[in-house]
Symmetry: D2
Subunit: 413 residues, 4 copies
């Protein structure tokens, strides 16, 4: 196979580039293809999408973008190759493949990630794969470097690559993606929760039976990382004010769709139309970012439809809803009545929101957790078998729920 | 005077609000008027203007907004009132006035600050004052709190307030504005240069003859702060890649103006037109932010004018220019000729840029530096009289220059 | 009661003192009695006792003393009084009492804490109380300030003080002692494990039914703190190399006792004799510190008894033992035989060490854990009832054990 | 030459050792000879000598030892070899030589460094060289590794080694020693002053004409480092309280000498006698550390000579002197008279102390400063020629003086 003959040397930049970063200090770019990808339109678009959506409504300094996170994931992959033993098990072509997969893994994110996915039924993982294969610029950069590279990078992301080590490095319970976002989100929110000992985890990585496993002496460091994630979820990611902000976003997109279908919007919504019409090409997808959405919100904040203009003004000017614990359908129905009385259409102004499902998505099912395997004696055991704490986390996520109901501050209760 | 009877107690929120922040940890909002100002459209607009313009092209994690800085300045003012002796010299009304002046001091910033000011001849300080006095929402919030408050806040910012202490807290060589931005920019760029000992500086503040002066024992901490600023300027703020990014921005705005005057632009530039036509109301000014500009850049990146579309694509996709030290007019003229030959109009594609003037603007003239006064024995002396290092900085800024010339990478030299 | 009339104002220093500290930045000393206590012989002796015993054998920079920790506990108590609501529930005399109790709480520590307690059967808590009551200098400083103060400070430490809030501030599951040592030990070992959000915990403190309880919104911050402690124990405090260092110390003290009883030591052991003879006055106790012990180790490293001199040289020059997991009495007996064959007396050269008991001591029994009470709705519930993670920790400590066996490297196995 | 054939591989430990450190995180020990040196008596003795003498009297957490600094210097040398280009210019034997020179460079420090040198006229640099050559354990470890290694290591320290790069790495204006102590002292004092960007300095190192020079793009990072040092000197190292502590130490040693010569001391001063008698063997030198000195201070605090016992109690129990600016001989003479009247012998109780000379020693003469050479264009220029700030520092040190006079608090003035 030709690719095995590939050497990283052949891709070395004459003058290596460095990006400064608050998390990884210097991020080194040594290879021409990586620099070209960084400076592509699809990657630069991620500068206009926030990593943490509306979390800056509470943790005000969390304004960082998916772009800086993406470069961070690339940096963690690079450290794995240099500081852990993994590098000994991969050839140069695989190393390049996984560095690029780290860099590009979030290409498919739309604006306001999860709420956008919700409303327009788009899955970012699928889009990442499609962009790598179909976007002309990205595709050319990859294929000009090595023929077949776009396919191989995509197969790391859709988990079909034959080498499981590469897949684990990018998407597993303990991958470069999660490692960067915990450190980064912790730093930019200014909380201490997400800190863990990356150096130590790199030092206890091992390869057995073609996959990444961990020395027993590293269990505490891994526990620490799992708990960091647990705390970030409940303290930061699921903060009720953030969820409220996202509910307003969903209402706005829903109202736009509804009005558009009733032909009640006649201003230029060029970049949004494909999504409303459910006919989205890769280029349409890449055309949209949060900056453009905010342009529309600004425009629509003057729209004659009072629901739409009010919701846009609320989002732009931080007139968020209030919330209380969700207790019963009756409670919700009462609030909806009051809302109606106050002149608010409950379809756009009252939301129940239940965080119980989400940890499940993020922490994976029990099989995913088992993916962190520990060498104990001469055998591999799963992490929960050697860590009571992790067992408790698994159990906790099944029980811990937080349901809220949101509505406008001004209704009379 | 009625205002003296004003008590902060009367403005206290029933439930105090807290913003989390990476620099100041918890930013407490105790007063109703402050919370309303934070949630006003004019303040929230600052979320869509980056604090450091194009610096994130190099220091990638410097993506923070002018909004977070503004809340940070408010937080530093609050600390000055609590942790230094200054609080003992001000009444409740003055305290409220200066906290609000800190919060609002950057309201008048346009998108891409300095390059926008350059091209459209707008001064942000003047706009801040106008917005405080003329923007309906801001004006009402202030006047509803205390009659005359908008005038008094504005007079702190335009330096006409009778109490010099308030002016010094917001705009002097050692003010809440600079203190927050050094700490903040240092943190988000991930450099160590801008760190200084804020606690110590607060501890050595004194009031003499109606103005803020400093104990002699604080000279080293102040030197440290001045040097932090010096280093941030040369290491971060004046980084040549950033200046290149700003030159492209200037070229884009220039090209838009030129084409518009030739009636060659027919797409909707609603929010930009008042600036092109030099007829800008306060509301026009507040309508524009960087998100909207980026929407236009996106649109115009498909415009038939190849200069405009090329420049927009360069900005969006990080195809920056190269640069070299500026040595002579002859060198520039040669580059312009080559540029022309390569098909680039030098008026939009070749720039000289000279950083010599800027430190002067930022560090102020010698009179400004003298504003930092030190109590030595029983007398006040100026900082440079007791610090050789600061003297050297003053001298250095006259000598240190960095002139570059920028042009497209692809021209044949 | 006279003491209620006591005002902190009366104790204010004309010139307040400040100590710089890496954890709390500035530690302010405002009151004369506190300054006098800091500069007393009994407190200054704690500068010559390391906070973390032999942990610096692995975490080399953990060289901090019990003195700096003591000042740190005082600083946390001060923050509790200023930043939490607790201050509203205490009068000036109680505030002084608890600040001093924080400062003095470790006065009774002997050199090499736990292993010294082991060998000489001394309990540091009992000595702290005795020193406060019986040491002339400490007693006079306290009584000169307010008559009865020494009794009241002591009663906070021996948990007989009528106001439970004071006791909880100094010794409970979430007290100033643990808070300072986690932050401090984490900083000086250079690990991230011990970091938690002190500001947030202070903000969620409440007083109900005469004791300190916590808002429900603070549960995550408290979980984070409990886990920080859990990790510090297993990653730092119980590191096997450290335990080995302590075993050698125990052997040395045992050998000295044994030889002394056989009249085989004739050099001057003045400061150690009272301990060997089990006749220790308060002054004897305060005379001994780690520096003096090291002087003896240095002297005794030339002693004709080869066991004693060898052990002392091992301790001084880091010739530690090797270790392996303890599996059976048979294994131990085999090692002892080999040891004997190699010329080492197993009574001083082979140790089993079992960490199972210690977490119990530190984490307290279930009743102690219940002391962290959470306000949920209008009721108080215990922390484990609202936190699965803490429940798991309680369970984990019962199961998690780590038994090692230590012996000289050079024996033939 | 045989040594050129030496390979580091041959010294590799089967199981590499790691020390955790708050500054460098993991300090890796890869080579057998290095591990043996770390565990030698001469190196372990440095654990009992504080890095910053009496500075912990003010910056309380600065309790770190010369041992941890020594391992830190070794760690910086290792980073220079790995992260800068220097490694490309040295063979394996030179690499080992310079790593060891870094580790051992402070072996010759006595207790309380500078004041001990003052009173007993010992130079620590000379002792370091003698210990490397003459101490049996150190000598054997080195010679067993490679014959001639002890000579070569010593020649790096006494600056006679033929390869100037090695000398510059250990002792120059910008060496591993200063780099570690600035970062370390800054961290443990809890000040921000000493922070600088080590990564960046490593990246701009170059080798020209057989010596280490720096890229022009690194000038700001170097300025930042020089200023960090400048601030640490005036804020931390020369703090008057520290100097006072050291003056009392000097008085104690002087009084011991004086009494001993008058045969008025009859207790066992075994480890101190060689110094008093000015007949110090290498072994005598290595026998003494600060712990042993404190044992003597403790003993002598009960000595019948009231001057000696009083001074010892002052040192042990932090009863320091007061101080004021030194203005004239007349002022000093007046204080001496008052002192005498109060019963204090001015020879031991009144000191003038002038910090003017010391910066000269530390910053070196102009020739030393010139050692930092910058590549500008194709030429080497000295740092002050391209940096006004550094020029100002050189000038400042000539002017900046701080003279104090110290005496007991209780005298009547």
């Amino acid at each position: 196979m030709k690719k095995v003959k590939f050497t990283l040397k052949s891709q070395e930049l004459k003058e290596k580039k460095v990006f400064r970063d608050a998390i990884h200090n210097y991020i080194h770019v040594d290879h021409d293809v990586v620099l070209k990808l960084i400076n592509s339109a699809a990657m630069q678009r991620l500068k206009r999408i926030k990593q943490l959506g509306g979390i800056h409504q509470v943790f005000q300094s969390a304004e960082h973008s998916r772009f800086t996170h993406s470069l961070g994931v690339y940096a963690v992959v690079r450290r794995m190759l240099e500081e852990s033993v993994i590098g000994d098990y991969l050839n140069d072509y695989e190393k390049l493949t996984v560095m690029i997969a780290g860099l590009l893994h979030d290409l498919g994110h739309g604006p306001f990630s999860h709420c956008f996915e919700n409303i327009f039924q788009q899955k970012h993982e699928a889009y990442t794969v499609r962009i790598i294969k179909e976007d002309q610029e990205i595709h050319h950069i990859l294929e000009d470097c090595v023929k077949g590279l776009s396919h191989d990078v995509a197969s790391v992301i859709d988990k079909t690559h034959p080498n499981h080590i590469l897949i684990q490095m990018i998407s597993s319970q303990l991958d470069a993606d999660r490692m960067d976002y915990l450190l980064r989100d912790s730093y930019f929110t200014g909380t201490t929760y997400g800190q863990f000992d990356l150096s130590r985890i790199l030092r206890v990585m091992q390869v057995r039976q073609g996959k990444i496993v961990y020395k027993y002496s590293g269990v505490q460091a891994i526990e620490n990382y799992i708990l960091a994630r647990y705390h970030m979820y409940w303290q930061v990611y699921y903060h009720p004010t953030t969820r409220c902000y996202e509910q307003i976003l969903i209402s706005i997109f829903r109202r736009i769709s509804d009005l558009y279908k009733q032909k009640k919007i006649n201003c230029d919504l060029e970049y949004l139309l494909p999504f409303i019409n459910h006919d989205v090409s890769i280029q349409d997808y890449l055309n949209l970012d949060e900056y453009i959405c905010f342009y529309y919100f600004r425009k629509l904040s003057q729209h004659p439809d009072t629901i739409l203009s009010d919701l846009c003004q609320r989002l732009l000017n931080r007139k968020l809803f209030v919330y209380e614990d969700y207790k019963s359908a009756k409670q919700k129905s009462l609030i909806e009545t009051q809302c109606l009385k106050a002149g608010y259409d409950p379809r756009y102004y009252v939301f129940g929101d239940d965080q119980m499902q989400i940890p499940y998505l993020h922490y994976g099912n029990k099989d995913d957790i088992r993916e962190i395997e520990i060498i104990k004696g001469h055998q591999l055991t799963s992490l929960p078998d050697v860590s009571e704490i992790v067992g408790a986390i698994i159990k906790a996520k099944e029980n811990k729920t937080d349901s809220k109901i949101y509505y406008p501050e001004t209704i009379d209760k």
